[in-house]
């Protein structure tokens, strides 16, 4: 087990190094001048060459690229995430303030996806080709196809025009006011959760269809067990592994999707901060937040892999 963990840790480190290098290089080779956002259109137009040299040096952008990359890695190693180019706020503060909201949205999306996806998948699998199955399949295709940001915008507009309602416009953390906090995260959480739930419903349906044709399920039924017990105790645990695997992968979609969905709902989360940073070309913020997302994605997938052994005692890590 230790050997396995060590190997996974090395893989994870290599993956994260690859991500860091990719995001670093991409941000530097992309066209666009960060000084436009810093100085504004008029200021940029009036900038003298000496001003550019001075400002780029102040921002740490005049060093050779390998030096800049090395500095960044050293800073990460020391736990320093740097400062935004713009207002001087630290990236750590940004993550501390906005991270919890995005994390809540992610967790809520995961819960919604399981709460919706799994029962729908079970229903579809145990009544294949029935009317409920057809409806469930149609809805799951629909939710996979509908872009989250579009659905989000519709929900925001519907709530506004029908009920004059808009969620709080500044961050309220759960520990400050749980009710206000819920109003902020519920919209994006449900929209993202429904899309992921559709995947889970399709995956659990196909896994269950496979499992319920197995001998041990037939045996359970032959013993006279109630259908509920057959599903919950015998079929479902054996069909869950691929569903858990896809949940880990779907987390990537949740992280990516949250960027657009937070924007649509006007939620000032980390995803939205990332969008703003990309538009402003706030390189330090972008590279650190992207790396954070990569760390979360890798860590969750390691945990998913480790959970196999717990879910299925036949699996051993060596």
């Amino acid at each position: 087990m230790r050997k396995y963990l060590a190997r996974r840790a090395v893989y994870a480190a290599v993956t994260l190094l690859g991500v860091s290098l990719s995001v670093f290089v991409i941000l530097r080779v992309l066209p666009g001048d960060p000084l436009v956002a810093i100085l504004g259109v008029e200021g940029h137009a009036q900038m003298r060459p000496a001003d550019r040299v001075r400002i780029m040096a102040d921002l740490g952008l005049s060093d050779p690229l390998p030096v800049q990359y090395a500095h960044w890695l050293v800073d990460i190693g020391a736990g320093r995430l740097g400062k935004s180019f713009f207002r001087g706020d630290t990236v750590a503060d940004l993550i501390r303030h906005r991270g919890p909201i995005s994390a809540e949205i992610g967790v809520l999306a995961l819960i919604v996806s399981w709460l919706v996806g799994l029962p729908v998948g079970i229903l579809s699998a145990f009544k294949p080709n029935s009317m409920p199955d057809g409806l469930a399949r149609a809805l799951s295709v629909l939710f996979i196809a509908i872009p989250g940001f579009w659905l989000g915008m519709l929900i925001v507009l519907a709530l506004l025009f029908w009920f004059g309602y808009k969620a709080p416009i500044v961050i309220v953390h759960f520990w400050q006011d749980p009710w206000q906090n819920l109003q902020i995260v519920i919209g994006p959480g449900v929209v993202l959760g429904l899309a992921q739930g559709a995947y889970i419903a399709r995956m659990s349906r196909s896994c269950l269809l496979e499992v319920i044709s197995e001998d041990f399920v037939r045996t359970a039924r032959a013993k006279g067990l109630r259908e509920g017990l057959v599903v919950m105790r015998h079929a479902l645990p054996n069909a869950l592994l691929p569903v858990i695997t896809i949940s880990g992968v779907l987390l990537g979609f949740v992280l990516g999707g949250s960027v657009a969905v937070e924007q649509a709902f006007g939620v000032p989360g980390l995803g939205r901060a990332l969008v703003t940073a990309v538009i402003e070309r706030d390189i330090i913020v972008v590279q650190n937040v992207v790396l954070l997302y990569a760390v979360i994605f890798v860590a969750v997938n390691v945990l998913v892999d480790l959970s196999y052994a717990w879910l299925d005692p036949r699996i051993r890590y060596s």
């Binding site: 956002a37 100085l39 504004g40 200021g43 137009a45 303030h97 808009k166």
Partner: protein, 558 residues
Amino acid sequence: MIDHTSDPKHATSVDRRTFLKRVGTAAASAAIASRLPAPGSVHAQDATLRPDPAAKRGGTLRYGVHTAPAHFDVHQSGTVANIGAQSPMYDTLLRRSPKDGQTIIPDLAWKWDISPDGKKYTFHLRKGVKFHDGADFTAEDVKATYDRIAHPPKGVVIPRTPLFATVSEIVVIDPHKIEFRMSEPRPKAFMLGAFASGWNIIVRKKSLEENGGNLRQVMAYPGTGPFKHVSRKDKEVWIMERNPDYWNKGLPLVDRLEIYHMPPFSAELGAAFLSGKLDYARLLDPVSWRKGKEMQGVSAAAFNQSVIQAVWMNMKKKPLADARVRRAMHLAMDRHTLIEVVKDTAPMQVGGFDYPFHPMSTPLAELEKKLGYQRDIKPAVQEARRLMKEAGYAQGIKGLDFVVRDANTFKLWAVAIQAMLKEHINIECNLRVVQISNWFEEVGGGNFDLGISAIVSTLMDPSDYFTAWYGKDGPQNYSYWTNPAFHDLTNQIDRELDDNRRKALVRKGEDILEQDPPLIPVAYEQIYDAWYNKVHGQNPSTYFGIYDVVRWDQAWLT
């Protein structure tokens, strides 16, 4: 010397009778001043802002305006993101009256003199004014502020620097008197407008010294303004409280100001306002603004903004170097349709090469009789085709690279302009949408044929923007346009002190620009504001732009 006195005793407290007298005098003066052509007249000076006699004190004003600033240095900024959020913490030497947004009234300078030759501006500063950190305000702070604006240190870029190009020396006469000496005179309206610009906030000399002259990352450097910094949540809200020691006694009227950062023309801002989470919203999208107007208990205003939306043509490329081709393209625009195309995205109005609402420009009604601005575009298109033929491009031009700044209005316009050019004069272009930071890199580097974007000026006065937009090597002359006759005219406009003669020169300049266009004017922006009727003291209907009257000291709530 012309003597301008605003407040002879410059006392900071008044009894009721004096107060009422002053309000009456101020109102009468404002009425007279509004009929006078130039700001800076004796009457305009008796108008230090006083609270509305009917005003009530207290409450929290929730104001939604623009996204968060990229940095905190107001002088270095050109966006309402800074001035919209930070202005309530600062004062200027002079200011524009919130009553009409135009009349120049005293602020930290209670009186000013202009020498007869127009080369010396002397400001008499208020006594007893304190910065928020308790330090006294003196002429040294004004000198440090304006030295920096007029001659920014290396690494500091201030868009208003050209306004003070003729200021050769700033001399502190005594702690409350300062003199600006100029190498040559400029029109009074222009100079006073520059001193009254909301951008030119007075900052402490010490703040500048402590930060190497750069305040980009200094969040709340002390000002003398009506509100004091309380807290800020990045990209969310900036909270300020009433300055109890404000020099202008009785102001401000609200206890607390919450300034919410929200993207302009966005559904998010509209939703926050319509759902009652904001009391006042600036830069609303047309759909939310119209919806707000229909709501009971809501007022709305549309007013002019200092932004031109335009297409630049790279004159380093052969077909576009020909003035006839550029004029043909200018005439091929159906401007009224272009306004219609974006009517649900952003409010716009038709205009030419200068602000169509400025007294020196050709009035809109007259402009709309000219080719290129008429509702019936047939005569303009005919003339455009004739010009193309004369220039040797009767068959049209193919493959122009049209760089489009990534914003909804520009993307909508680019498609419409592409179609108009093709249909009217057979010019084919390929659209290339890029982010704003990339747009300026591409266009600034000459990697374009056509480019659509927007630029802004500080003042409505042509002397502010003729050089920047159309001057040889002007910072925003993206077309690389030159026209010696026009450049010579600009010099004359800058130096001409008589308004009537200046106006004639501006009109001559317009004629040159029409025949040899440095850009294709697409539209002039408007601003949509809306507020719940519990907000009083702020009606921007007659304001010009969103950079001068943004302090909220006169606003009050019921």
